[in-house]
Protein backbone atom coordinates (compact mmCIF):
# COMPACT_ATOMS: atom_id res chain seq x y z
CA UNK A 1 0.00 0.00 0.00
CA UNK A 2 1.37 3.39 -1.00
CA UNK A 3 1.16 6.41 1.26
CA UNK A 4 1.80 9.97 0.20
CA UNK A 5 3.29 12.36 2.73
CA UNK A 6 2.43 16.03 3.28
CA UNK A 7 3.58 18.52 5.89
CA UNK A 8 0.02 19.39 6.65
CA UNK A 9 -3.26 17.74 5.72
CA UNK A 10 -6.45 19.71 6.17
CA UNK A 11 -9.87 18.07 6.24
CA UNK A 12 -12.50 20.55 5.04
CA UNK A 13 -12.10 23.46 2.62
CA UNK A 14 -14.39 25.82 4.49
CA UNK A 15 -13.41 29.14 6.07
CA UNK A 16 -11.33 27.53 8.87
CA UNK A 17 -9.60 24.89 6.75
CA UNK A 18 -8.68 27.22 3.89
CA UNK A 19 -7.45 29.93 6.26
CA UNK A 20 -5.24 27.43 8.09
CA UNK A 21 -3.82 26.05 4.85
CA UNK A 22 -3.02 29.55 3.60
CA UNK A 23 -1.34 30.56 6.84
CA UNK A 24 0.79 27.41 6.84
CA UNK A 25 1.59 27.52 3.12
CA UNK A 26 2.82 31.09 3.57
CA UNK A 27 5.48 29.66 5.88
CA UNK A 28 6.48 27.10 3.27
CA UNK A 29 4.57 24.02 4.40
CA UNK A 30 3.50 21.54 1.75
CA UNK A 31 -0.22 21.58 2.35
CA UNK A 32 -3.18 19.67 0.96
CA UNK A 33 -6.88 20.23 1.67
CA UNK A 34 -9.56 17.57 1.14
CA UNK A 35 -13.23 18.40 0.84
CA UNK A 36 -16.08 16.02 0.20
CA UNK A 37 -18.07 18.60 -1.71
CA UNK A 38 -18.01 19.46 -5.38
CA UNK A 39 -17.10 23.07 -4.56
CA UNK A 40 -14.76 24.51 -1.94
CA UNK A 41 -15.61 27.27 0.54
CA UNK A 42 -17.86 25.36 2.92
CA UNK A 43 -20.93 27.42 3.68
CA UNK A 44 -19.38 30.72 2.54
CA UNK A 45 -20.73 30.48 -1.00
CA UNK A 46 -24.28 30.23 0.32
CA UNK A 47 -23.91 33.30 2.47
CA UNK A 48 -24.97 36.25 0.39
CA UNK A 49 -25.32 38.77 3.22
CA UNK A 50 -22.70 41.27 4.27
CA UNK A 51 -20.58 40.08 7.19
CA UNK A 52 -20.35 41.80 10.56
CA UNK A 53 -17.17 42.76 12.40
CA UNK A 54 -14.64 45.37 11.45
CA UNK A 55 -12.27 45.82 8.50
CA UNK A 56 -9.83 43.14 9.71
CA UNK A 57 -12.72 40.67 9.77
CA UNK A 58 -13.80 41.64 6.24
CA UNK A 59 -16.91 43.33 7.56
CA UNK A 60 -19.51 44.50 5.00
CA UNK A 61 -18.11 42.04 2.46
CA UNK A 62 -20.61 39.37 1.42
CA UNK A 63 -19.83 35.77 2.45
CA UNK A 64 -19.43 34.42 -1.08
CA UNK A 65 -16.98 37.21 -1.93
CA UNK A 66 -14.92 36.28 1.13
CA UNK A 67 -14.98 32.70 -0.17
CA UNK A 68 -13.65 33.85 -3.56
CA UNK A 69 -10.87 35.84 -1.86
CA UNK A 70 -9.87 32.85 0.28
CA UNK A 71 -9.72 30.54 -2.73
CA UNK A 72 -7.65 33.03 -4.66
CA UNK A 73 -5.25 33.35 -1.73
CA UNK A 74 -5.01 29.56 -1.33
CA UNK A 75 -4.18 29.26 -5.02
CA UNK A 76 -1.58 32.03 -4.77
CA UNK A 77 0.30 30.27 -1.98
CA UNK A 78 0.22 26.89 -3.68
CA UNK A 79 -2.29 25.13 -1.44
CA UNK A 80 -3.60 21.98 -3.12
CA UNK A 81 -7.38 21.73 -2.78
CA UNK A 82 -8.83 18.33 -3.71
CA UNK A 83 -12.59 18.27 -4.17
CA UNK A 84 -15.03 15.34 -4.19
CA UNK A 85 -12.54 13.88 -1.74
CA UNK A 86 -14.21 12.28 1.27
CA UNK A 87 -12.02 11.57 4.25
CA UNK A 88 -13.42 8.29 5.55
CA UNK A 89 -10.82 7.63 8.24
CA UNK A 90 -8.34 9.46 10.44
CA UNK A 91 -5.93 7.54 12.66
CA UNK A 92 -3.84 8.64 15.66
CA UNK A 93 -0.63 8.23 13.64
CA UNK A 94 -1.97 11.03 11.41
CA UNK A 95 -2.83 8.68 8.59
CA UNK A 96 -5.74 9.75 6.47
CA UNK A 97 -7.86 7.54 4.23
CA UNK A 98 -9.59 9.45 1.46
CA UNK A 99 -12.15 8.34 -1.08
CA UNK A 100 -11.50 10.29 -4.24
CA UNK A 101 -13.95 9.45 -6.97
CA UNK A 102 -14.12 5.67 -7.02
CA UNK A 103 -10.79 5.11 -5.37
CA UNK A 104 -9.36 4.91 -1.86
CA UNK A 105 -6.08 6.74 -1.30
CA UNK A 106 -3.81 6.99 1.70
CA UNK A 107 -1.96 9.98 3.05
CA UNK A 108 0.24 10.74 6.00
CA UNK A 109 0.52 14.23 7.44
CA UNK A 110 3.21 15.46 9.79
CA UNK A 111 0.27 17.48 11.09
CA UNK A 112 -3.44 17.10 10.43
CA UNK A 113 -6.01 19.83 10.89
CA UNK A 114 -9.65 18.79 11.15
CA UNK A 115 -11.95 21.59 10.00
CA UNK A 116 -15.05 19.59 9.16
CA UNK A 117 -17.51 22.20 10.42
CA UNK A 118 -20.94 21.36 11.68
CA UNK A 119 -24.10 19.52 10.80
CA UNK A 120 -27.64 20.80 11.25
CA UNK A 121 -29.71 19.75 14.22
CA UNK A 122 -33.20 18.53 13.46
CA UNK A 123 -36.45 18.26 15.38
CA UNK A 124 -39.07 15.62 14.82
CA UNK A 125 -42.79 16.21 14.70
CA UNK A 126 -45.72 14.52 12.99
CA UNK A 127 -45.00 14.60 9.26
CA UNK A 128 -41.37 15.69 9.54
CA UNK A 129 -40.28 13.13 6.97
CA UNK A 130 -42.62 14.47 4.26
CA UNK A 131 -40.98 15.89 1.14
CA UNK A 132 -41.09 19.66 1.62
CA UNK A 133 -39.68 19.61 5.15
CA UNK A 134 -36.08 20.73 4.67
CA UNK A 135 -33.12 22.05 6.60
CA UNK A 136 -32.29 25.75 6.42
CA UNK A 137 -28.98 24.78 4.85
CA UNK A 138 -30.88 22.94 2.12
CA UNK A 139 -32.88 26.09 1.37
CA UNK A 140 -29.67 28.13 1.09
CA UNK A 141 -28.07 25.52 -1.12
CA UNK A 142 -31.04 25.39 -3.49
CA UNK A 143 -31.53 29.12 -3.92
CA UNK A 144 -27.97 30.46 -3.70
CA UNK A 145 -26.03 27.69 -5.42
CA UNK A 146 -28.52 25.94 -7.66
CA UNK A 147 -30.75 28.88 -8.59
CA UNK A 148 -34.07 27.33 -7.71
CA UNK A 149 -36.72 28.42 -5.23
CA UNK A 150 -36.97 26.00 -2.29
CA UNK A 151 -40.71 26.61 -2.11
CA UNK A 152 -43.43 29.12 -2.87
CA UNK A 153 -44.75 29.53 0.67
CA UNK A 154 -42.41 28.74 3.53
CA UNK A 155 -42.64 28.50 7.30
CA UNK A 156 -39.31 28.95 9.11
CA UNK A 157 -38.68 27.26 12.44
CA UNK A 158 -35.84 28.89 14.36
CA UNK A 159 -35.04 32.51 15.17
CA UNK A 160 -31.27 32.18 15.53
CA UNK A 161 -29.09 33.96 12.99
CA UNK A 162 -29.42 31.07 10.54
CA UNK A 163 -33.24 31.12 10.67
CA UNK A 164 -33.33 34.90 10.33
CA UNK A 165 -30.75 35.19 7.57
CA UNK A 166 -32.25 32.33 5.56
CA UNK A 167 -35.77 33.81 5.93
CA UNK A 168 -34.50 37.04 4.41
CA UNK A 169 -32.70 35.16 1.65
CA UNK A 170 -35.89 33.23 0.87
CA UNK A 171 -37.68 36.52 0.29
CA UNK A 172 -34.77 37.78 -1.83
CA UNK A 173 -35.15 34.65 -3.95
CA UNK A 174 -38.84 35.49 -4.44
CA UNK A 175 -40.41 33.08 -1.94
CA UNK A 176 -43.06 34.04 0.57
CA UNK A 177 -42.18 33.49 4.23
CA UNK A 178 -45.57 33.10 5.92
CA UNK A 179 -44.26 33.02 9.50
CA UNK A 180 -41.21 32.50 11.64
CA UNK A 181 -41.64 30.34 14.74
CA UNK A 182 -39.35 29.42 17.60
CA UNK A 183 -40.02 27.39 20.73
CA UNK A 184 -37.79 29.77 22.68
CA UNK A 185 -39.51 32.78 24.25
CA UNK A 186 -37.10 35.27 22.66
CA UNK A 187 -35.42 35.81 19.29
CA UNK A 188 -32.05 34.05 19.37
CA UNK A 189 -30.19 35.89 16.62
CA UNK A 190 -29.14 39.49 16.07
CA UNK A 191 -31.95 42.00 16.47
CA UNK A 192 -30.99 43.72 13.22
CA UNK A 193 -31.45 40.45 11.29
CA UNK A 194 -34.87 39.99 12.93
CA UNK A 195 -35.87 43.59 12.20
CA UNK A 196 -35.17 43.33 8.48
CA UNK A 197 -37.36 40.20 8.28
CA UNK A 198 -40.15 41.69 10.42
CA UNK A 199 -40.37 44.92 8.41
CA UNK A 200 -41.09 42.86 5.30
CA UNK A 201 -44.26 41.70 7.05
CA UNK A 202 -43.22 38.28 8.36
CA UNK A 203 -45.02 37.55 11.65
CA UNK A 204 -42.88 36.15 14.48
CA UNK A 205 -44.30 33.43 16.73
CA UNK A 206 -41.99 33.04 19.70
CA UNK A 207 -42.78 30.29 22.24
CA UNK A 208 -44.30 28.38 19.32
CA UNK A 209 -43.29 25.15 17.71
CA UNK A 210 -44.51 22.87 14.97
CA UNK A 211 -47.38 20.56 15.91
CA UNK A 212 -47.49 18.81 12.56
CA UNK A 213 -46.73 19.01 8.89
CA UNK A 214 -49.79 18.30 6.76
CA UNK A 215 -49.92 16.47 3.45
CA UNK A 216 -49.83 12.95 2.07
CA UNK A 217 -47.18 12.98 -0.67
CA UNK A 218 -45.61 16.32 0.23
CA UNK A 219 -46.19 19.26 2.54
CA UNK A 220 -49.41 21.18 1.95
CA UNK A 221 -49.67 22.92 5.30
CA UNK A 222 -48.32 23.28 8.78
CA UNK A 223 -49.81 23.67 12.25
CA UNK A 224 -47.89 25.49 14.95
CA UNK A 225 -48.88 25.91 18.58
CA UNK A 226 -47.77 27.78 21.66
CA UNK A 227 -45.51 25.89 24.05
CA UNK A 228 -46.26 25.99 27.75
CA UNK A 229 -43.85 25.91 30.66
CA UNK A 230 -43.64 22.09 30.36
CA UNK A 231 -42.68 22.42 26.65
CA UNK A 232 -45.99 20.85 25.62
CA UNK A 233 -48.41 22.57 23.25
CA UNK A 234 -51.11 24.57 25.02
CA UNK A 235 -54.43 23.24 23.64
CA UNK A 236 -56.39 25.79 21.64
CA UNK A 237 -53.33 27.79 20.56
CA UNK A 238 -52.85 25.91 17.29
CA UNK A 239 -52.55 27.98 14.11
CA UNK A 240 -52.65 26.63 10.57
CA UNK A 241 -50.73 27.98 7.57
CA UNK A 242 -50.93 26.89 3.94
CA UNK A 243 -47.31 26.21 2.98
CA UNK A 244 -45.46 23.92 0.61
CA UNK A 245 -42.19 24.11 2.51
CA UNK A 246 -41.16 23.93 6.17
CA UNK A 247 -37.65 25.05 6.86
CA UNK A 248 -35.81 23.91 10.00
CA UNK A 249 -33.10 26.10 11.53
CA UNK A 250 -32.77 24.69 15.01
CA UNK A 251 -29.05 24.89 15.57
CA UNK A 252 -25.84 23.22 14.55
CA UNK A 253 -23.69 20.52 16.09
CA UNK A 254 -19.93 20.12 15.62
CA UNK A 255 -19.08 17.27 13.22
CA UNK A 256 -16.20 15.81 15.21
CA UNK A 257 -16.44 12.07 14.47
CA UNK A 258 -13.04 12.00 12.73
CA UNK A 259 -11.36 13.44 15.80
CA UNK A 260 -12.97 10.86 18.01
CA UNK A 261 -11.81 8.15 15.66
CA UNK A 262 -8.27 9.55 15.93
CA UNK A 263 -8.51 8.98 19.69
CA UNK A 264 -8.41 12.66 20.51
CA UNK A 265 -9.67 13.50 24.00
CA UNK A 266 -13.27 14.67 23.60
CA UNK A 267 -15.69 16.53 25.83
CA UNK A 268 -19.47 16.43 25.76
CA UNK A 269 -20.68 19.97 26.26
CA UNK A 270 -23.94 21.85 25.84
CA UNK A 271 -22.57 23.07 22.54
CA UNK A 272 -21.98 19.52 21.33
CA UNK A 273 -19.39 16.77 21.34
CA UNK A 274 -16.08 18.58 20.80
CA UNK A 275 -12.34 17.93 20.97
CA UNK A 276 -10.53 19.26 23.99
CA UNK A 277 -8.05 21.71 22.51
CA UNK A 278 -5.82 24.67 23.29
CA UNK A 279 -6.58 28.13 21.87
CA UNK A 280 -4.47 27.40 18.80
CA UNK A 281 -6.43 24.21 18.15
CA UNK A 282 -3.92 21.59 19.37
CA UNK A 283 -5.72 18.44 20.55
CA UNK A 284 -4.51 15.79 23.00
CA UNK A 285 -2.87 13.89 20.12
CA UNK A 286 0.39 15.62 19.11
CA UNK A 287 0.13 16.97 15.57
CA UNK A 288 -3.66 16.74 15.32
CA UNK A 289 -5.42 20.10 15.40
CA UNK A 290 -9.02 21.32 15.12
CA UNK A 291 -10.38 24.70 14.00
CA UNK A 292 -13.73 26.29 13.22
CA UNK A 293 -17.19 24.95 14.05
CA UNK A 294 -15.88 21.42 14.68
CA UNK A 295 -14.41 22.68 17.96
CA UNK A 296 -17.47 24.74 18.93
CA UNK A 297 -20.13 26.55 16.92
CA UNK A 298 -19.42 30.18 16.07
CA UNK A 299 -19.52 32.41 13.00
CA UNK A 300 -17.49 32.05 9.79
CA UNK A 301 -15.57 35.19 10.76
CA UNK A 302 -14.18 33.57 13.90
CA UNK A 303 -13.61 30.26 12.09
CA UNK A 304 -11.27 32.07 9.69
CA UNK A 305 -9.21 33.50 12.54
CA UNK A 306 -9.14 30.17 14.37
CA UNK A 307 -7.92 28.58 11.15
CA UNK A 308 -5.11 31.13 10.84
CA UNK A 309 -4.12 30.44 14.45
CA UNK A 310 -3.95 26.69 13.86
CA UNK A 311 -2.01 27.23 10.64
CA UNK A 312 0.60 29.30 12.48
CA UNK A 313 0.72 26.82 15.36
CA UNK A 314 1.31 23.93 12.97
CA UNK A 315 4.02 25.88 11.12
CA UNK A 316 5.78 26.36 14.46
CA UNK A 317 5.18 22.73 15.55
CA UNK A 318 6.91 21.54 12.37
CA UNK A 319 9.77 24.01 12.69
CA UNK A 320 8.80 26.40 9.88
CA UNK A 321 8.32 29.30 12.25
CA UNK A 322 10.17 30.21 15.44
CA UNK A 323 8.41 30.28 18.77
CA UNK A 324 8.84 34.06 18.84
CA UNK A 325 7.36 34.55 15.37
CA UNK A 326 4.45 32.32 16.25
CA UNK A 327 3.73 34.17 19.48
CA UNK A 328 3.72 37.52 17.70
CA UNK A 329 1.29 36.24 15.07
CA UNK A 330 -0.87 34.60 17.74
CA UNK A 331 -1.12 37.84 19.68
CA UNK A 332 -2.35 39.64 16.59
CA UNK A 333 -4.92 36.95 15.75
CA UNK A 334 -6.11 36.56 19.33
CA UNK A 335 -6.85 40.27 19.47
CA UNK A 336 -8.96 39.95 16.30
CA UNK A 337 -10.82 36.98 17.72
CA UNK A 338 -11.35 38.69 21.02
CA UNK A 339 -13.14 41.67 19.46
CA UNK A 340 -15.56 39.27 17.74
CA UNK A 341 -16.33 37.54 21.03
CA UNK A 342 -17.52 40.69 22.80
CA UNK A 343 -20.98 42.10 23.28
CA UNK A 344 -24.40 40.70 24.02
CA UNK A 345 -23.95 37.63 21.82
CA UNK A 346 -20.53 36.74 23.25
CA UNK A 347 -20.10 33.03 24.06
CA UNK A 348 -20.31 33.85 27.78
CA UNK A 349 -23.79 35.33 27.34
CA UNK A 350 -25.26 32.37 25.47
CA UNK A 351 -28.75 31.59 26.72
CA UNK A 352 -28.79 34.59 29.06
CA UNK A 353 -31.28 37.42 28.84
CA UNK A 354 -29.33 40.67 28.59
CA UNK A 355 -31.70 43.45 29.61
CA UNK A 356 -29.45 46.48 29.27
CA UNK A 357 -26.88 47.53 26.70
CA UNK A 358 -23.32 48.38 27.74
CA UNK A 359 -24.48 51.99 27.61
CA UNK A 360 -27.14 51.25 30.21
CA UNK A 361 -30.07 51.53 27.78
CA UNK A 362 -32.93 49.06 28.15
CA UNK A 363 -32.98 46.43 25.39
CA UNK A 364 -36.19 46.44 23.36
CA UNK A 365 -38.38 43.60 24.63
CA UNK A 366 -40.54 43.97 21.56
CA UNK A 367 -37.48 43.21 19.43
CA UNK A 368 -36.86 40.04 21.41
CA UNK A 369 -40.48 38.92 21.40
CA UNK A 370 -41.78 40.14 18.03
CA UNK A 371 -38.72 40.83 15.93
CA UNK A 372 -38.96 44.62 15.73
CA UNK A 373 -38.32 47.64 17.93
CA UNK A 374 -41.60 49.37 18.79
CA UNK A 375 -42.13 52.98 17.75
CA UNK A 376 -42.08 54.12 21.40
CA UNK A 377 -38.82 52.29 22.11
CA UNK A 378 -36.69 53.47 19.21
CA UNK A 379 -36.03 57.01 20.41
CA UNK A 380 -33.87 55.88 23.33
CA UNK A 381 -30.93 54.69 21.22
CA UNK A 382 -27.96 56.98 20.47
CA UNK A 383 -28.19 56.44 16.71
CA UNK A 384 -31.70 57.85 16.62
CA UNK A 385 -31.71 61.65 16.63
CA UNK A 386 -33.87 64.46 15.25
CA UNK A 387 -32.07 67.10 13.24
CA UNK A 388 -32.72 69.74 10.68
CA UNK A 389 -31.74 68.59 7.23
CA UNK A 390 -30.79 65.11 6.07
CA UNK A 391 -29.25 62.82 8.69
CA UNK A 392 -28.78 59.13 9.45
CA UNK A 393 -31.13 57.30 11.82
CA UNK A 394 -29.30 54.24 13.10
CA UNK A 395 -31.61 51.59 14.51
CA UNK A 396 -28.80 49.47 15.94
CA UNK A 397 -29.96 48.59 19.44
CA UNK A 398 -27.79 45.72 20.65
CA UNK A 399 -24.07 45.48 21.40
CA UNK A 400 -22.81 43.41 18.48
CA UNK A 401 -19.25 43.39 17.11
CA UNK A 402 -19.62 45.57 14.03
CA UNK A 403 -18.40 48.99 12.94
CA UNK A 404 -18.36 49.56 9.16
CA UNK A 405 -20.83 52.46 9.50
CA UNK A 406 -18.23 54.47 11.41
CA UNK A 407 -15.70 54.15 8.60
CA UNK A 408 -18.31 54.59 5.89
CA UNK A 409 -19.21 58.17 6.77
CA UNK A 410 -16.81 60.57 5.04
CA UNK A 411 -17.98 63.40 7.30
CA UNK A 412 -17.50 61.65 10.63
CA UNK A 413 -21.19 61.81 11.58
CA UNK A 414 -21.17 58.29 13.06
CA UNK A 415 -19.19 57.36 16.15
CA UNK A 416 -18.74 53.91 17.64
CA UNK A 417 -15.35 54.39 19.22
CA UNK A 418 -12.63 51.90 20.00
CA UNK A 419 -14.93 49.21 21.31
CA UNK A 420 -16.62 47.85 18.19
CA UNK A 421 -19.58 46.49 20.11
CA UNK A 422 -20.68 49.95 21.28
CA UNK A 423 -23.92 51.28 19.87
CA UNK A 424 -23.32 53.71 17.02
CA UNK A 425 -24.10 57.31 17.93
CA UNK A 426 -24.94 60.14 15.55
CA UNK A 427 -22.81 63.25 16.05
CA UNK A 428 -25.16 66.20 15.67
CA UNK A 429 -22.43 68.74 15.05
CA UNK A 430 -21.06 67.06 11.92
CA UNK A 431 -22.91 67.74 8.71
CA UNK A 432 -24.46 64.80 6.85
CA UNK A 433 -24.27 65.16 3.07
CA UNK A 434 -26.74 62.34 2.44
CA UNK A 435 -24.30 60.19 0.45
CA UNK A 436 -25.91 56.99 1.73
CA UNK A 437 -22.61 55.15 2.27
CA UNK A 438 -23.64 54.35 5.84
CA UNK A 439 -26.98 52.91 4.69
CA UNK A 440 -25.27 50.57 2.23
CA UNK A 441 -22.43 49.65 4.58
CA UNK A 442 -24.65 48.47 7.43
CA UNK A 443 -24.61 44.67 7.38
CA UNK A 444 -27.74 44.72 9.53
CA UNK A 445 -29.60 47.08 7.18
CA UNK A 446 -30.41 49.21 10.20
CA UNK A 447 -29.46 52.67 8.90
CA UNK A 448 -31.92 55.04 7.25
CA UNK A 449 -31.55 58.61 6.04
CA UNK A 450 -34.30 60.97 7.12
CA UNK A 451 -35.00 64.45 5.80
CA UNK A 452 -37.89 66.60 6.93
CA UNK A 453 -39.80 69.15 4.88
CA UNK A 454 -38.64 68.39 1.36
CA UNK A 455 -41.96 70.02 0.50
CA UNK A 456 -44.63 71.40 2.80
CA UNK A 457 -45.73 68.61 5.15
CA UNK A 458 -43.62 65.91 3.48
CA UNK A 459 -40.18 64.48 4.07
CA UNK A 460 -38.03 61.67 2.71
CA UNK A 461 -36.77 58.36 4.07
CA UNK A 462 -33.89 56.57 2.33
CA UNK A 463 -33.79 52.85 3.04
CA UNK A 464 -31.69 49.83 2.00
CA UNK A 465 -33.43 47.64 -0.57
CA UNK A 466 -32.10 44.25 -1.68
CA UNK A 467 -35.05 42.90 -3.63
CA UNK A 468 -36.18 42.61 -7.23
CA UNK A 469 -37.69 44.29 -9.08
CA UNK A 470 -36.11 47.56 -8.04
CA UNK A 471 -38.91 50.17 -8.01
CA UNK A 472 -38.86 53.03 -10.53
CA UNK A 473 -38.69 56.69 -9.59
CA UNK A 474 -42.20 58.07 -9.54
CA UNK A 475 -43.76 54.75 -8.61
CA UNK A 476 -46.38 54.94 -5.88
CA UNK A 477 -46.57 52.25 -3.24
CA UNK A 478 -46.99 51.57 0.44
CA UNK A 479 -44.66 52.47 3.25
CA UNK A 480 -44.42 49.74 5.88
CA UNK A 481 -43.53 50.21 9.53
CA UNK A 482 -40.97 48.28 11.56
CA UNK A 483 -43.71 45.74 12.24
CA UNK A 484 -44.32 45.23 8.52
CA UNK A 485 -47.76 46.87 8.63
CA UNK A 486 -48.80 49.57 6.19
CA UNK A 487 -48.36 53.04 7.60
CA UNK A 488 -49.15 55.26 4.59
CA UNK A 489 -48.93 55.48 0.85
CA UNK A 490 -45.73 56.91 -0.56
CA UNK A 491 -43.87 57.85 -3.71
CA UNK A 492 -40.43 56.65 -4.75
CA UNK A 493 -38.38 59.80 -5.37
CA UNK A 494 -34.90 58.39 -5.87
CA UNK A 495 -33.19 55.06 -6.54
CA UNK A 496 -29.40 54.79 -6.13
CA UNK A 497 -27.48 51.79 -7.38
CA UNK A 498 -23.84 52.85 -7.01
CA UNK A 499 -21.29 50.01 -7.39
CA UNK A 500 -19.86 51.01 -3.99
CA UNK A 501 -23.18 50.02 -2.43
CA UNK A 502 -22.52 46.40 -3.48
CA UNK A 503 -26.08 45.52 -4.49
CA UNK A 504 -27.70 47.23 -1.51
CA UNK A 505 -29.82 49.64 -3.49
CA UNK A 506 -30.92 52.84 -1.81
CA UNK A 507 -34.56 53.69 -2.16
CA UNK A 508 -35.84 57.14 -1.22
CA UNK A 509 -39.54 57.45 -0.50
CA UNK A 510 -41.58 60.56 0.19
CA UNK A 511 -43.93 60.30 3.18
CA UNK A 512 -45.77 62.77 5.42
CA UNK A 513 -43.39 64.35 7.98
CA UNK A 514 -45.10 62.56 10.85
CA UNK A 515 -44.28 59.19 9.25
CA UNK A 516 -40.53 59.83 8.93
CA UNK A 517 -39.75 57.92 12.10
CA UNK A 518 -42.18 55.10 11.28
CA UNK A 519 -41.83 54.26 7.58
CA UNK A 520 -39.04 51.70 7.20
CA UNK A 521 -39.83 49.57 4.17
CA UNK A 522 -41.39 49.91 0.75
CA UNK A 523 -43.95 47.64 -0.80
CA UNK A 524 -45.37 47.82 -4.29
CA UNK A 525 -49.01 48.85 -4.10
Amino acid sequence: MKIERYDMIVVGAGPAGLSAAIEAAKQGLKTIVFDENERPGGQLFKQIHKFFGSKEHKAKVRGFKIGEELLEEAHRYGVEVILNATVIGLYPQKEVTVKIGEELRHYKGDAVLVATGASENMVNFEGWTLPGVIGAGAAQTMMNLHHIKPGKKVLMLGSGNVGLVVSFQLMQAGCEVVALADAAPRVGGYGVHAAKVARCGVPFYLSHTIVKAEGTDHVTGVVIGQVGADWNIIPGTEKHFDVDTICLAVGLSPMAQLLKQAEVQMADTKGGYVPVCTKDGATSVPGIYAAGDVSGIEEASSAMIEGRMSGAAIACYLGYMSEGEKNARMKELEAQLDTLRQGMFAPKNRGKLVEKTDEGIAVSMNLLENGFVADDEIERYPGVTHQKGIHPVIECTQNIPCNPCQDACPKGCIRIGKNITSLPAVEGKKECVGCGMCVASCSGQAIFLVKEDVEPGFGEVTLPYEFLPVPEVGERGLALGRDGREVCSCEVTKVSKAPAFDYTNLLTIKVPNEMLMTARFYKKA
Binding site: L258, M266, D268, K270
Partner: protein, 110 residues
Amino acid sequence: MFDIQEKLKEIGPYIEEADDDLLVCRCEEVTKGEIRRALHQGIFTIEEMRRYLRSGMGLCQGQTCGKLVKGIIAKELHVSPVDVYPASSRAPMRPTEMRILAEDGGVCHE
Protein backbone atom coordinates in the same frame (compact mmCIF):
# COMPACT_ATOMS: atom_id res chain seq x y z
CA MET B 1 -21.78 3.38 33.58
CA PHE B 2 -24.96 2.47 35.49
CA ASP B 3 -26.04 -0.50 37.53
CA ILE B 4 -28.60 -1.78 35.03
CA GLN B 5 -30.90 -3.41 37.57
CA GLU B 6 -30.91 -0.33 39.81
CA LYS B 7 -31.55 1.97 36.88
CA LEU B 8 -34.38 -0.20 35.55
CA LYS B 9 -36.02 -0.05 38.96
CA GLU B 10 -35.55 3.71 39.08
CA ILE B 11 -37.09 4.42 35.66
CA GLY B 12 -40.02 2.11 36.25
CA PRO B 13 -42.02 0.28 33.60
CA TYR B 14 -42.46 1.39 30.01
CA ILE B 15 -45.59 3.49 29.67
CA GLU B 16 -46.85 4.27 26.20
CA GLU B 17 -46.73 7.94 25.11
CA ALA B 18 -48.91 9.67 22.52
CA ASP B 19 -46.05 10.33 20.11
CA ASP B 20 -44.37 6.93 20.38
CA ASP B 21 -45.00 6.24 16.71
CA LEU B 22 -42.99 9.30 15.69
CA LEU B 23 -40.00 8.39 13.52
CA VAL B 24 -36.62 9.26 15.00
CA CYS B 25 -34.15 7.51 12.71
CA ARG B 26 -35.25 8.43 9.20
CA CYS B 27 -32.94 5.97 7.42
CA GLU B 28 -33.74 2.79 9.32
CA GLU B 29 -37.26 3.93 10.29
CA VAL B 30 -36.95 3.50 14.03
CA THR B 31 -39.63 5.13 16.18
CA LYS B 32 -39.46 6.89 19.49
CA GLY B 33 -41.55 4.12 21.06
CA GLU B 34 -39.13 1.44 19.92
CA ILE B 35 -36.23 3.34 21.45
CA ARG B 36 -38.14 3.91 24.69
CA ARG B 37 -39.12 0.25 24.91
CA ALA B 38 -35.49 -0.79 24.35
CA LEU B 39 -34.42 1.49 27.18
CA HIS B 40 -36.80 -0.28 29.52
CA GLN B 41 -35.20 -3.55 28.45
CA GLY B 42 -31.82 -2.28 29.63
CA ILE B 43 -30.36 -0.88 26.40
CA PHE B 44 -28.82 2.27 27.86
CA THR B 45 -26.15 3.40 25.43
CA ILE B 46 -26.27 4.78 21.90
CA GLU B 47 -23.83 2.08 20.82
CA GLU B 48 -26.08 -0.75 22.05
CA MET B 49 -29.14 0.99 20.64
CA ARG B 50 -27.49 1.11 17.22
CA ARG B 51 -26.86 -2.61 17.27
CA TYR B 52 -30.23 -3.50 18.79
CA LEU B 53 -32.56 -1.34 16.70
CA ARG B 54 -30.26 -0.16 13.87
CA SER B 55 -31.05 3.47 14.75
CA GLY B 56 -28.20 5.54 13.33
CA MET B 57 -26.91 2.58 11.30
CA GLY B 58 -28.41 3.56 7.96
CA LEU B 59 -26.91 5.43 5.03
CA CYS B 60 -26.52 8.70 6.93
CA GLN B 61 -24.80 6.99 9.87
CA GLY B 62 -26.73 8.81 12.56
CA GLN B 63 -25.97 12.25 11.20
CA THR B 64 -29.60 13.31 11.51
CA CYS B 65 -30.95 11.31 14.45
CA GLY B 66 -27.88 11.12 16.70
CA LYS B 67 -28.84 14.07 18.83
CA LEU B 68 -32.52 13.06 18.92
CA VAL B 69 -31.71 9.53 20.12
CA LYS B 70 -29.39 10.95 22.74
CA GLY B 71 -32.16 13.25 23.98
CA ILE B 72 -34.65 10.38 24.30
CA ILE B 73 -32.14 8.22 26.20
CA ALA B 74 -31.27 11.08 28.56
CA LYS B 75 -34.91 11.90 29.26
CA GLU B 76 -35.89 8.31 29.88
CA LEU B 77 -32.90 7.61 32.14
CA HIS B 78 -33.30 10.94 33.98
CA VAL B 79 -29.76 12.06 33.15
CA SER B 80 -28.29 14.99 31.26
CA PRO B 81 -27.62 14.38 27.53
CA VAL B 82 -23.92 15.11 28.17
CA ASP B 83 -23.85 12.03 30.40
CA VAL B 84 -25.06 9.69 27.67
CA TYR B 85 -22.00 7.93 26.32
CA PRO B 86 -21.48 8.70 22.62
CA ALA B 87 -21.33 6.05 19.92
CA SER B 88 -17.92 5.02 18.68
CA SER B 89 -16.54 6.52 15.46
CA ARG B 90 -14.94 4.32 12.90
CA ALA B 91 -14.11 4.22 9.22
CA PRO B 92 -15.71 4.46 6.76
CA MET B 93 -17.07 7.76 8.03
CA ARG B 94 -19.33 8.10 4.98
CA PRO B 95 -21.19 5.41 3.02
CA THR B 96 -18.65 3.67 0.82
CA GLU B 97 -19.34 0.84 -1.59
CA MET B 98 -17.83 -2.52 -0.67
CA ARG B 99 -16.27 -2.66 -4.14
CA ILE B 100 -14.28 0.51 -3.47
CA LEU B 101 -13.09 -0.77 -0.11
CA ALA B 102 -12.17 -4.12 -1.64
CA GLU B 103 -10.24 -2.59 -4.51
CA ASP B 104 -8.11 -0.48 -2.17
CA GLY B 105 -4.80 -0.90 -3.93
CA GLY B 106 -3.13 1.94 -2.17
CA VAL B 107 -2.81 4.09 -5.27
CA CYS B 108 -1.61 7.55 -4.39
CA HIS B 109 -2.83 10.89 -5.47
CA GLU B 110 -0.41 12.26 -8.08
